[in-house]
Amino acid sequence: MAVVCLHGPLRSLAGDRAELDLRGGTVHELLRGLEEQHPSVTGWILDERGVIRRHINVFVNGERGRAETAVESGDRVEVLPAITGGA
């Protein structure tokens, strides 16, 4: 099981839980598992194509991760909005 850490409105969508233990071999599988456990999250992180939204960042054990990044039991996966510019 990996630990998925949520921030901002994602946390309230997941039942006000900051951390969830989820099964999956990749970041994408973990995020699909998150949607199954908490359907309110559907559409917020992955879009209809299954792509991680452009301004969402994922870190696996402190390193930038992508959808296909492998995840092992005990890994810590942070999901958070990107620090993007603009007004």
Binding site: G8, G43, H55
Partner: protein, 354 residues
């Protein structure tokens, strides 16, 4: 008391006031979030709003009290596993027979039959977009105008930038184009009508004569007398026939109001003066209406959905907002204007109800 729902770059503002005066901010919702559009549904009394979070994508929300709790609507997405994702919802329009319609990017139409709680994608129009080469306008491939036919819930017209005008007579089961007569100056003359990227900026239908329709085009104002099949140019007499918003007086099928901008090269009010132009003869002549509006050093941009109206006839109320954060209004069909609000975030949309 008139209520304005003002979508801005930094949240939804609900304003209240009486025509001809300054309005008060009754509440603000979604602080920090871009609110593309909001409207109070006359059937349910709910306010329906749409946001496009740069982080979490487009959503539709509904609330009985816009100052209270908002609920996220279901079904606002394209089919999973496709090649495109929903980019933005541009407009929500109460239809006939209790439906609500929502239009967005990439050229999509949704319908709700439960007061905005859940939405279903119109598959037939979507199929046209999948099979045909629709080109986006500068604001994206936006379906921004939805005009029901009074008392006939199966008839509907929509406009897409830049895929032109589309009609259905069977509640969205089939669609046909309606663009004859529109002349895009940004294309060569010999480009075929059905393959042209037609950048309609806004479309409206006259309530008392639904065969009468108006379009503010990307360079050109047009009128149709046959329910949107054929269009005639009516831009003569305007300082510029470029602009985005358009409003009608529901009591007068010959009426239309536009807010000209200098042109597609400089999208601000011409010569630093804010003027609304009114026709009462179907576009044969236009009269500037600016009494009370800024008339010098005012270079405003008014976006396509930032012009709303309520009432009709001599007591028609019109309200428009600019990306400067100013909102202006009239309670006497444009004869006199006043400043309704200032220093709001950039205004994306304005709707009015009373």
């Amino acid at each position: 008391m008139t209520e304005l729902t003002v979508g801005t770059k930094k949240g939804l503002f609900v304003l209240e006031g009486d025509p001809g005066g300054e309005f008060k901010v009754r509440c603000r919702a979604f602080p920090g979030e871009p609110i593309d559009f909001a409207v109070r549904d006359p059937a349910s009394g709910r306010v329906i709003a749409t946001s496009t979070s740069p982080f979490y994508g487009p959503k539709i929300w509904f609330a009985d009290d816009p100052g209270g709790e908002w609920m996220q609507a279901e079904g606002v997405a394209l089919p999973e596993g496709g090649e495109e994702a929903l980019e933005r919802i541009w407009v929500i329009v109460p239809g006939e027979g209790g439906s609500l319609w929502a239009g967005g990017d990439p050229g999509v139409l949704f319908e709700s039959r439960d007061g905005g709680q859940s939405w279903e994608l119109n598959a037939a129009l979507r199929q046209h977009r999948v099979e045909e080469d629709w080109q986006p306008g500068g604001g994206g491939l936006c379906l921004h105008s939805i005009v029901p036919w009074p008392d006939e819930p199966d008839r509907l017209a929509v406009a897409v930038s830049a895929a032109g005008v589309w009609h259905t007579d069977d509640h969205g089961e089939t669609w046909r184009r309606g663009n004859h007569g529109i002349r895009p100056r940004y294309l060569p003359d010999d480009v075929s009508e059905d393959s042209s990227p037609l950048c309609v900026h806004r479309m409206e239908r006259a309530k008392r004569d639904p065969r009468r329709m108006f379009i503010q085009f990307h360079g050109g104002v047009y009128r149709s007398d046959d329910a949107g099949q054929n269009w005639s140019y009516i831009g003569d007499g305007l300082p510029s026939d470029f602009g985005f918003p358009l409003a009608l007086d529901p009591g007068d099928p010959d009426s239309a109001y536009v807010i000209p901008l200098t042109g597609d090269f400089d999208r601000v009010t011409p010569e630093g003066a804010v003027r609304v132009y009114e026709t009462r003869d179907g576009g044969q002549s236009w009269t500037p209406r600016g009494d009370g509006l800024p008339d010098r050093e005012a270079y405003l941009t008014v976006l396509r959905r930032a012009f709303g109206q309520v009432g009709e006839g001599d007591s028609l109320q019109l309200y428009f907002g600019a990306t400067s954060g100013d909102v202006f209004g009239t309670g006497d069909a444009g004869a006199t204007w006043s400043t309704v609000a200032t220093r709001l975030p950039p205004v994306f949309s304005v709707t009015a109800s009373a």
